[in-house]
Symmetry: C2
Subunit: 115 residues, 2 copies
DNA sequence: CTGTATCCAAGCGGATACTG
DNA sequence: CAGTATCCGCTTGGATACAG
């Protein structure tokens, strides 16, 4: 009943996509998962600045959107692993290109910022 | 005039990129400009749902980030045209990929939503 | 036509404490 | 370890009015 209706009406493809990966941490989470499975704690440590609340929220939304899979192991201590779905993996080339573009721009900015 | 305060410290490339194109309308604005110059009113009409306030704000930030160019023509009635910079054009292939991915996903969702 | 200015509601996101 | 719960400030963004 508390199911979020947070995708009211995507008007176009670009909109649809940004609703799914445009959050503050979602892109970085997906990028972290590019090499395979990661645990909750690993993500919290490597996605710098994220709090458990925001991480959980982002992971839930990514799961609802079928971009990642949540696997729970019933053991002590508890273990939860996250993995990209096939759909999620399809986003990796895009993220790769985006990151390359960003790194290039950041270099230019660094040069321009030199005194 | 504290315009630049919203880019505190991009920690990684993905973050940097989303700060620049991750707003609610920025992706769609850039995409609208893919075929060339557009006027303010054209953008307001075609980027559905945007208000003049948000459109102006997004355009200013994109201009500050050197992704678009704002050209003002001193005439009556006034005319202002926006165009992608070379840096902005470099984003088009990524937006294209993203939109293709999104359209594909939207089709799947439509099929799944069928009664 | 191309914006500004102002008000205001919603929700994002951070800090902290707590649970199974 | 992997989360929930709660509080709350700040930003985002919508509506409306108005200006050059």
């Amino acid at each position: 009943m508390d199911k979020k209706s947070n995708h009211p009406a995507p008007k176009c493809g670009i909109d649809y996509a940004f609703q799914r990966i445009g959050g503050k941490y979602k892109g970085r989470i997906l990028w972290r998962l590019r090499n395979g499975t990661m645990r909750y704690g690993e993500l919290r440590r490597t996605v710098t600045g994220v709090t458990s609340k925001m991480l959980t929220q982002a992971l839930r939304e990514l799961e609802d959107d079928c971009l990642i899979v949540r696997q729970v192991y019933i053991e002590v201590p508890p273990r939860v692993e996250y993995t990209l779905t096939d759909t999620g993996k399809e986003l990796l080339p895009f993220l790769q290109l985006l990151r390359d573009w960003a790194k290039h721009q950041m270099q230019i900015n660094d040069i321009l910022a030199m005194p």
